[in-house]
C-alpha cells in the first residue's frame, strides 16, 4: 500500500503541490455549493470535466469511465426528481434523492482528492509545507501519518493471522474481538513509534524548523495557467453567489 509514488511518469500534468491543494480547495468549494446560479452550475460542470481530464492524464481509464458514468447517472436522477416524474416522498424517491445529493457533491471531490494524493509524494508535501513556513509541530505529524499507514496495515494483518490461529474472531465475542485487535495494535505501533523517534533524533530531527528540502518544487507554466483558471473561477463563483 504505497500511496504516494508518482502515479504516472508520462503524465502531462505536473503541478506544484500547492497548486494542487488550491485547485482542490476551489473545486471542493464550488462543488458543494448549493447555489442555483447558472454561472455556478456551469462552473461545476467545467470542474467535473477538469477532474476527468486529470484522471485520464493519469492513465486511469477505467476509473475515469466509472466516474463519468456514475456522475451522469446522478445528473439524470437529479433531473428526474426535479421534473417531478418520481414523487420525492416515496421511499425510492428519498433514497434517490440522498444518493444523488451525495454523488453530486462528493464524487468529484473524492476523485480530485485521489488525484492529488496519488500524484504527490510525501516529501513534496513536506517541502511545500516548509516553504509555506508551517511549523514542525504540523509537518512532523503529517509525515508520520503517511509513513504509518502501510505499517498499520502490516501490523494489523499480522494480528489477524494470530487471531485466526488462536480461533478468536469477532463472532465469538464482540468486545473481546475489539480488545484483542486494538490492544496489540496500539502496543505494537507505540513501540515502533518510540524506536522511530529515537532513530529520527539521532539523525538530527528537531522541533525547530530549520530544515532544507531535497525535493524540488516550484511553480512552472502549468501552475500559472492553473492560477489563472482558479482566479477566474473564484470571480465567477463570487458573481454567481451575489447574483443568486
Amino acid at each position: 500500500m504505497n500511496r504516494f509514488e508518482s502515479g504516472n511518469e508520462d503524465a502531462v500534468i505536473n503541478f506544484d503541490p500547492r497548486t494542487k491543494l488550491m485547485l482542490l480547495l476551489i473545486i471542493n468549494t464550488v462543488i458543494i455549493s448549493d447555489s442555483k446560479s447558472p454561472l455556478i452550475s456551469g462552473l461545476k460542470i467545467v470542474f467535473v470535466i477538469l477532474v476527468l481530464f486529470f484522471l485520464i492524464d493519469m492513465k486511469k481509464i477505467k476509473m475515469s469511465v466509472i466516474y463519468v458514468s456514475i456522475y451522469l447517472l446522478a445528473v439524470v436522477g437529479d433531473y428526474i426528481l426535479v421534473s417531478g416524474s418520481i414523487s420525492g416522498i416515496s421511499a425510492g424517491g428519498l433514497i434517490l434523492r440522498i444518493v444523488v445529493y451525495l454523488v453530486e457533491r462528493m464524487l468529484p471531490n473524492m476523485m480530485m482528492a485521489w488525484f492529488v494524493l496519488h500524484t504527490t509524494k510525501v516529501s513534496e508535501f513536506i517541502a511545500a509545507m516548509q516553504k509555506m513556513h508551517f511549523p514542525q509541530t504540523i509537518t512532523i505529524p503529517f509525515a508520520i501519518i503517511f509513513r504509518f499507514f502501510p505499517t498499520l496495515a502490516d501490523e494489523y494483518s499480522s494480528i489477524q493471522d494470530a487471531m485466526k490461529m488462536r480461533n478468536i474472531s469477532l463472532k465469538t465475542n464482540v468486545i473481546s474481538g475489539i480488545e484483542y485487535r486494538m490492544v496489540p495494535l496500539i502496543v505494537s505501533v507505540t513501540k515502533i513509534g518510540d524506536e522511530l523517534s529515537a532513530a529520527a533524533m539521532t539523525r538530527g530531527l528537531t522541533t525547530e524548523g530549520n530544515r532544507t528540502s531535497y525535493c524540488k518544487i516550484g511553480f512552472s507554466l502549468q501552475d500559472y495557467a492553473a492560477f489563472t483558471v482558479i482566479a477566474i473561477s473564484i470571480m465567477f463563483f463570487v458573481i454567481g453567489l451575489i447574483r443568486g
Binding site: I140, I186, D194, M201
Partner: protein, 209 residues
Amino acid sequence: MSTAVKELKMNTAVAEENGKMTVKDLITIGIFTVLYFVIFFISAMTGMVPIMAIFYPALIAFLAGIPCILFFTKVKKFGMVTIMATLSAVLLALMGYGYMGIITGLILGLIADLILKSGQYKSSVKMIISYVVFSEWVIGTQLPMFIGGNAYAEAFRETQGDAFVDELEKLISWGMCGIVIVTTLVAAIIGALIGKAVLRKHFERAGIV
C-alpha cells in the same frame, strides 16, 4: 585530562519538561492521528446504512476511547488534541467530508486541550470531559448536510408541497442535530470509561504509558 574534573550529575527524568513538544511527542501525535483516522474511516463507512450516516459520530466516539485516553496520558503537552483534531479534519476534508470539520476540529480541539491542561494532565475526570468535548468535532463534518439540507428541502416546497418539505426538514433538522450531539456525548463517556479501563488493564501494566 584536566585536573578539575567536574562530576556531572543529572537526572533527566526529574528535569523540568517545559511543556514544549518534543520530537517523540510529535511522532506520537502522528501515530495516534493515524489510529483515529482509521477508526473514523471505518465508522464513516458504515454510513452506507442511512441511519448510520446520521449517527456515525457516536460510533467513532465509542471506539476511539481506547486509543485517545492512552494518547492523553502519553503526551501531556498543550496542543496535542488540537493538532490531532485539525490534521484529521484536514485529511477528511480532502476526502470530501467538508470544511466545517476543520473549524469544529480546531475550536473543540483547543477547548479540549485547555481542559486537559487545567487538570494538570493528571485528573481522570478532566480527561473524560476533554474527550467528550473533542468527540463532538465530528459533527462538524455533518454540518453541511444539516445546513444545506434545509436549503435543499426548501427548494421543493413548490413542487412537492408543504407536507413533504416539513417531513424532510424534520429529518435533517437542528433537532436531529441535537439528538446526535447528545448521543455522541453519551457514547464518548462510555468510550472514555472503556479507554480508562483498558489503560489500567493493559497499557499501564505493559509499560507503554
